[in-house]
Structure formats: structure tokens, C-alpha cells
Symmetry: C2
Subunit: 371 residues, 2 copies
């Protein structure tokens, strides 16, 4: 017997959560976290209450770093950091550290968040918009012919997956500049070509864990080029020199991320994630494509996201009717972002295949009745 009376063993009191983020986490991770909130590792102290400089948290963060390396095949050429402030703080830190005087940074504008990153850089220095997706309503990520690069650019910044529009780069863009990727909404959903990047970062709250922690993977020789002309908490070098413990880090978020890394490894790693996510996404895209034009996809086919499936019914009234039906099927979070409208199913790593099958079924039924 425990006092967590409302938590059942079956999971039957949980619904299908299609939220774009924060989003569904593996249920085994939640169960472990429930226990460890009270008493972790038999220490007699809960995970929230442990000193960030004590042995238990040493174990937690050391394992999180090691497991992160294993998950993505990250070599010792890269430093792994757990920072705060979300991807949005990275938008400022990146140019403050790496957009040095006399240089230009290239930014691919594939949506609201990519544009926000670019705008922060424009406050700091010279920026070149290497791709302007706004002209086409952000309905695709650029192919090789659509991007223009600055010679000797300080870096090239892109966003691998655009949550709002449901577009995703099938592969990293080609550039001679150090490549920086915002992977907030698709990190660890598929194998990553880490070595193609100078830096990768991701807010945790979609594929990795709780909001309030940002995973930063940064090549050590690139880190050495940082200007460091900023306040201490924006200085990557200072964070790296202190092993993410320059000050008290977000210990619980790091702990949960560590559990999620172990879960990914237990499931078979990033290759398994890719296969599963492709299959889950295919269920929904097939429902769109087989609807006889009832559902209209937002993204071009070539770059459809495996994380966020975006589509519209013939009109807003039907979008709303669909949302109401979904609710009766215990499906939540399907409303599209206000910038795009329509519907969006976010199906990150921890979202179950059965949930995608259920949604695909509802989509087919709904189209048959209303089409």
C-alpha cells in the first residue's frame, strides 16, 4: 500500500495526449519518478531534495551524460551540457558566443521559431537569411537548390523540425560553415549525424523530459572559438568548465532526461525510434492521402514531419467538429497552432503506436461520414 492512491497499475486513467509539448513521456519513466520523488537510490532523500553536489546527483548526471553519448553515438570531441532557459535562450547565446565582429551568420528561416533565432542574432551582429520559407507559408524545408550560403560564415543555423507546420529536414543541409541545429522537436527521434554539426541543442519538453532543461551538444574545437564576451550564465565555456554545474542545475529535469535516455536504449536505440516513428506517422499520412482530398496536408510530401502531423479538413467548422469527436475518444491536444489552424497530431517518441492507429481510424470514419 502507498499513499499515491489515484495511480493505477493499468494506465487506463490516462488519455491519448497529442500535445505539441510538453508532451507524453514513457509511463515506465513516470512510475520510476514517482518512487524517486520520495526516496532515490535508497538514500532516504527524494530526487528533488538532493544536493546537486552530492553523490546521488553525481550518479544521476554522470549516467545521463554517458547514456546520452551512447544513445546518439556522441564522441569525446563533443561536450554535453544541460542548461536552462529553453531553446529561446540558446537563440541569444549562440550569436553572443559565436557571431564575432566582421563575420556573418547564415540562418534558414523555416518557421516562427527559426525566425526567432534569426532575430536574436540580428541584435548581435550580421545575419544572412539563407532561406526564406515565409514566401511559401512555411510549407517545406529547403532542398539543396533553395539555400544560399555566405562564404566564411560564422555558422549556419537551422531547425530540423518545425513543430507548427509539421515540416522536417530529411537530412542536414550542406554548408561549409559550422552547422548548428535546433533539434527541439525531433531530437533522438531518429539517428543523428552528430559529426556533421558544430552544435546541436534541444529543449527537453518534447522528446527528452520536463520543460526547463536544454540539452546542448557542442564540438570542443568550436567551443574554443567562443568570444566569451558576455555574462557568466551565457558563457558556454564556463558551463562546460563546470560540467553543467556552474550554479544549481535543474536537477529533476536532468534526472528525468537520464531515465528517458535509458528508456530509449532499452527500446533498441535511435534506429528503433526511427522505425517506430516512421510507422506511426505513416498511419496518419495514409489516412490523409486516402481521404480523397478530404484532409489537406500542410507540409509538402518530401519533408513531412514524423513528429508533428499537420492537416486541415475542408473548413473550420469541420476542424472543430473533429476536435469534439476526438475528445469523446479520449484524445487531447489535436488543435493546430494558431498560426496555421486546422489539426495537428504530435506523436513524439513516447507516444504509442496504438494511439496513432486509433486516430487514423477516427480520421477515416470522420471523412467517410462528413466527406
Amino acid at each position: 500500500m502507498t499513499t499515491t492512491k489515484s495511480a493505477p497499475t493499468t494506465g487506463s486513467d490516462r488519455i491519448l495526449n497529442f500535445s505539441a509539448g510538453p508532451s507524453t513521456l514513457p509511463e515506465s519513466v513516470l512510475r520510476q519518478a514517482q518512487q524517486d520523488l520520495w526516496n532515490i537510490d535508497g538514500s532516504g532523500i527524494g530526487i528533488l531534495e538532493h544536493s546537486h553536489r552530492g553523490k546521488v546527483f553525481d550518479r544521476v548526471i554522470d549516467e545521463a551524460v554517458a547514456d546520452c553519448r551512447t544513445v546518439a553515438g556522441i564522441s569525446d570531441d563533443y561536450t554535453i551540457l544541460f542548461l536552462q532557459g529553453g531553446a529561446s535562450l540558446q537563440f541569444g547565446m549562440i550569436p553572443l558566443n559565436f557571431l564575432t565582429a566582421g563575420r556573418t551568420a547564415d540562418y534558414a528561416d523555416t518557421g516562427v521559431w527559426a525566425k526567432k533565432a534569426m532575430k536574436e542574432a540580428q541584435k548581435i551582429g550580421s545575419v544572412h537569411c539563407a532561406f526564406d520559407g515565409s514566401a511559401s507559408g512555411y510549407d517545406h524545408t529547403p532542398d539543396g537548390t533553395e539555400t544560399t550560403c555566405t562564404p566564411d560564415a560564422a555558422y549556419f543555423h537551422y531547425c530540423t523540425n518545425n513543430t507548427i507546420y509539421g515540416t522536417q529536414y530529411p537530412a542536414p543541409p550542406t554548408t561549409d560553415a559550422p552547422l548548428i541545429a535546433d533539434m527541439s522537436s525531433d531530437i533522438f527521434s531518429r539517428p543523428i549525424d552528430v559529426d556533421a554539426h558544430a552544435m546541436i541543442y534541444a529543449g527537453a519538453q518534447k522528446n527528452l523530459g520536463p520543460a526547463g532543461c536544454t540539452l546542448v551538444i557542442i564540438r570542443k574545437d568550436f567551443l574554443q572559438t567562443a568570444s566569451r564576451d558576455t555574462i557568466t550564465m551565457l558563457d558556454y565555456f564556463a558551463h562546460a568548465a563546470n560540467g553543467s554545474r556552474l550554479n544549481t542545475p535543474p536537477t529533476f529535469a536532468i534526472y528525468v532526461m537520464g531515465l528517458v535516455f535509458k528508456w530509449i536504449l532499452d527500446q533498441g536505440g535511435l534506429a528503433t525510434m526511427r522505425t517506430r516513428n516512421a510507422e506511426k506517422a505513416a498511419l496518419l499520412y495514409t489516412a490523409i492521402d486516402n481521404s480523397g482530398g478530404f484532409y489537406r496536408p500542410v507540409s509538402k510530401t518530401r519533408c513531412r514531419s514524423h513528429m508533428n502531423v499537420t492537416f486541415r479538413t475542408p473548413n473550420e467548422a469541420l476542424d472543430e467538429a473533429f476536435l469534439q469527436e476526438a475528445k469523446t475518444h479520449e484524445m487531447s491536444g489535436l488543435k493546430g497552432h494558431r498560426d496555421v489552424g486546422g489539426l495537428r497530431a504530435s506523436i513524439y517518441n513516447a507516444f504509442p503506436r496504438a494511439g496513432c492507429a486509433a486516430l487514423a481510424q477516427l480520421m477515416s470514419d470522420f471523412a467517410a461520414r462528413k466527406g
Copy 2:
């Protein structure tokens, strides 16, 4: 039956956690959090997994703000923000926003953290050290005669409680400048004269909740004076305009802080906290003062902290022997900070009186045997 098998109803598997931070939280808060990790408000979705723009989190953050106002009697003249980056990011944000060209900011240096705040400001603009505590080994907070103020200073920054040394301001310092307080280690441990301050901030991880969230209370007319010449995530005005949801906030940390605010109110509010903390601290200071000189306090008597009780035995070997005995009594976290050595008992709001009584008893017994 639930799957949180290791969580008992009695609390008997938890030990006395004297950690300086992150630190002990109320057990009722931990029990509630265990449940809500799985399914909060009957929503079928856990607190970690809820969109920061959905109805459940609206409820969480709205109640947290309202309860925070009630706890400390904070009027509508002040904005309440939940930010990331700990107090250390505030050290940079404060001068970036408020240390405008041609002005000087006053800083009272009462220890390592107060000095770090001052050093960040020195990167931005003109700083006057209004009190230099290093000369006396940071053994006290200044009385009214020890502080020198700059006429028309941009602001006066001080740290109410110095965790490392166990010193605490009995009352806010007197200055004509806008007063800014770092209350990271004693916020809500006693009633606060909010109206004496232009801004109050505190990392959550001692008295308020999980690491990874910073409570910022800022007077609206002072906020209007911010220069805003910085990146978006360091712009207080932008955070205030977006109700702490400029980007995804640390939702779980805000949720736990909300539970802690409710716990404080349930216990009787800040007056009760003050009384309890004074009584808890008195148990330990009495053990020091009655030890016939065996225990030597770090702080001057006038400004002894009610949060961090710092003392030394006659020598380092006895300090170590004490720590070993404490361990056998299921007491953890009593080692003093490396800058001071000796012993430190951190006894924040949620630390139980019985734990202080047990430590006081051990101190008396140990002194009688070793003295």
C-alpha cells in the same frame, strides 16, 4: 495497489536532510506530486506532460501567482515572474536591465554569492561596493553604520541570507536607491517588507521547490525603467508582458512551488514560518552557546541565520568525527561549505523541528564526550 512499491505511508524510510540546497520539501507536497506526475486534476495526463498553454497549466500558474501574493502580501503594484537560470542569471539580468549608462549600482558584499552578483554588474557598468564583508571573513551582515551609499544610485543590491556563512540581515538595509534583494536562501521563511523593495528574487531550490525556477517579484514602476537593450530572454519586460510564458516555462517547478505556497498558507503563513524557524534555530544556537566554547559559531550573534546554522568543533578531526556520528543518526548534509569548513545545518521551512531537536541532542552529547 499501485506500482510505486517503495513509497511507504509512514515516511520512516526518509532521513534528516540538512542539505543547503536543493533541500527538504514538505512530505505532503511530495505525495501530491507523486500522484500528479501520473494524472493531474483527473485530466488523464501527468503534470510533466501538459501543454504550458492548456487549461490545466493555466490553473496551476494562476493559482501559484495568486497564492504567492497571499503568502507575502504582495500588492498589484508588483509583477510576479517565474524565470529560469537560477539567481546566477539574475546577477546578469539585473545590471543589463537596470544599470543604465551614467549611473552607479551599489552592492553589499556579504559573501561569495553577493560578490558574484557584484562581479556580473561590473561587466556591465559602474559599481560601488557599499560594504566589504571579506575583511572580516564574512562573519556578519552590515549594521547601519557600515554601509556607504552612492547618491542617486541605479539600485542597491544585497543578499538577505548568506548560506555559506550562516549570516542573515535582521531587517532590510536603509538606502534611498531602489532596493533589490537576493532572497534565495531565506525567502518566505519570515514576513517580508515587500514594499521596501523594488525587486526581490530567489532561486526555488531552498524554501520554494525544485531547482530550475527563480521567483522574481518586481515593482511595476521599476520595471518600466528597464533599458531592454538585451536579448529577449534577459528582458524582464518581455517576460512580464507574456505572464512568464514567453517560451515554455519550467512547468513542473512552478507546479511544485504552487503546492509549497499552499502548504505555507495551510501552516499559518509567514508569521508561523518565522516562529517555527526561530524556535528551530534556537535549539541549535543554544546547543552551541551552552557547549562551554566547544562549538564556535561562524556568524556574529546579531545576525545569526535562522536558515543555516554554521559552527566548528575545536578541530577538523572532530568536525569529521561529528559528521560520522551524525550519519549513524540518519542525518545527512551537515558538512560545512568548503570556503568555511566546519559544520552547517540548513533548516529551511520544511525541515522538521524534531530534526533540530535531535541534532541539538547529538551536539550536546558529542561535546560532553569530546570536550
